[in-house]
Amino acid sequence: MNTLLLADELKPIFIGGGQMQGGWEFVWTAYAVAWAGIILYSLSLWLRVRGQRAKEGVK
Amino acid sequence: MNPPGLLKTTWIVFKKDMQIEWRTRARLNALLFFAVATLLLFYFAIGGDPGTMRKSAGGFLWLALFFSSVLSLSESFRLETENFALEALRLAPTSPRAVFLGKAAANSLLSWVLALALVPLTVAFFDVSIKEGVPRLVLALALGSTAIAAPGTVYSAIATNARARDVLLPLLMFPVLIPSLIASVSSTTLILGGDPMNQMGDWLLFLFLFNLVYWPVCFLVFPKVIEDD
């Protein structure tokens, strides 16, 4: 099932024929966006949980 | 005395809504005017290319209708919140599902009439003709209108009771209605522009399926929205 999922994603690449050149800037951008998301969301969640614990500590 | 059954109550609710609409005809007129104005805006926004105009006519007709529906739907429950009318409805020994059917039917009819009224203008502004016949167009407009009305009525009931209801209703409605928009626009465009490859039937079938899914689902969940337990 994994290979089919993957094959599905790779489909359009085979259309052009010939090799795609470079394109590393897209890869870096994508990884930067993904990592930014991971860090920002985790941070946001962590801060919110901490804030809630602080409120409950006061009570 | 037995409380009226589902169908009878539906009819009562439907008639009441229609009567209120008729008595405040000014609002109906304003709604029509809004739809026409939107259509005009599209005309001016797109610019003059005749080919583009013809191909986009169906799309603009439905967009104008969608925006007008947001207005008419948000009104649909607002009048119930006045004078505690909704509370009275809840207390009466009627099924909330009948309220849904009556209101959704009323909203459908209103949208449909609005759509029909927009047709002559669309034909004129965008230089199209009804190539595949008027009955098919009427059907497409009807199915599209009922597709908007079912989830729209549910969301309208929810939005009325939340904050920022004016923004919330379109925010909830639009994503859900995208498949119906695709189907409505596709079938209408084919009807207006000609259907050489016989695709219209598929789109109308899809629109029918959309209704087939949403009317029962909305019918089933609606009590949860207006009940207060």
């Binding site: 993957l6 994603e9 897209f26 993904a34 962590w46 919110r48 | 949403y214």
Partner: protein, 255 residues
């Protein structure tokens, strides 16, 4: 050989931990920490596998590597959000409980985050691959609408003050959203079949698959930890809403 074994072993560990957490309440204090550690470690190693170890394909070049990030995001979102639909049905039909409502809220938020970022990544991947950032591809559109639908769900939740109404109405919205996803999928497939996009071969090199499976397991661990904490947060917020406000340290003066 180890190529196949590594992701499978890690998956077994992750699943084992998750089952442990769900089945044995006492373990809930520490299991998430192990999963979090696993996620962090795997995230640190993943770039090596995805960017260096996986080969440069003859025809595909390098941009395909984006899918090692894109697909796990979407996969997890497609796990989280339909689960929300199921929970919503449960809430309305079987039993109303704050736990179910809190879990729904957690799944929706994490699902929107992963789905939204995943969709963006898909767009970044599409540009070098298809030449455009956006196209009427059924999966692209369905995924995009899914994110929008649940953004609406989250917005609705923020705008309703009464907790019970919030739980009930967001469950209703989720069910309608779920129905919509199925319909959108079919509508866009019809739309696309009319616009004739080409198809292609179905077999992929094993060396390309391994980082993919590895990434999936990493994101599974990550998502579980996120949902668990977001769930706890939602439950705590609910408790605050239901409990009557306390006068902090003040005695009332009765004149």
């Amino acid at each position: 050989m180890w190529v196949k074994a590594l992701p499978l072993t890690l998956l077994a560990i992750a699943v084992g931990l998750i089952v442990c957490h769900l089945a044995v309440p006492k373990t809930r204090t520490w299991v998430w920490k192990v999963l979090a550690a696993q996620a962090v470690l795997m995230f640190l190693v993943q770039p090596y596998f995805a960017l260096t170890w996986a080969p440069r394909e003859v025809m595909m070049g390098d941009p395909y590597r984006i899918i090692y990030m894109h697909v796990p995001h979407m996969f997890m979102a497609f796990l989280a959000l339909p689960l929300n639909v199921i929970l919503s049905v449960w809430y309305l039909v079987v039993k109303k409980s704050w736990a179910v409502d809190a879990l729904s809220e957690a799944l929706a938020e994490v699902g929107v985050y992963l789905g939204g970022v995943g969709w963006l990544l898909g767009s970044i991947w599409a540009k070098p691959t298809w030449g455009v950032y956006f196209s009427p591809d059924p999966r692209l559109i369905t995924a995009g609408i899914m994110v929008f639908l649940y953004l609406g769900y989250l917005t609705l939740r923020r705008l309703i003050e009464d907790p019970e109404k919030r739980a009930t109405w967001s469950a209703v919205v989720s069910i309608l959203a779920g129905a919509d996803l199925v319909l959108t999928w079919f509508a866009t497939k019809m739309f696309r079949s009319i616009h004739q996009l080409p198809s292609s071969p179905d077999t992929v090199d094993a060396q390309i698959v391994m980082p993919f499976r590895f990434s999936l397991v990493a994101f599974l661990c990550f998502m579980f930890v996120l949902v668990w904490h977001r769930y706890r947060l939602a439950l705590a917020l609910r408790k605050n809403e239901i409990a009557p406000p306390e006068a902090v340290g003040q005695t009332q003066v009765i004149a």
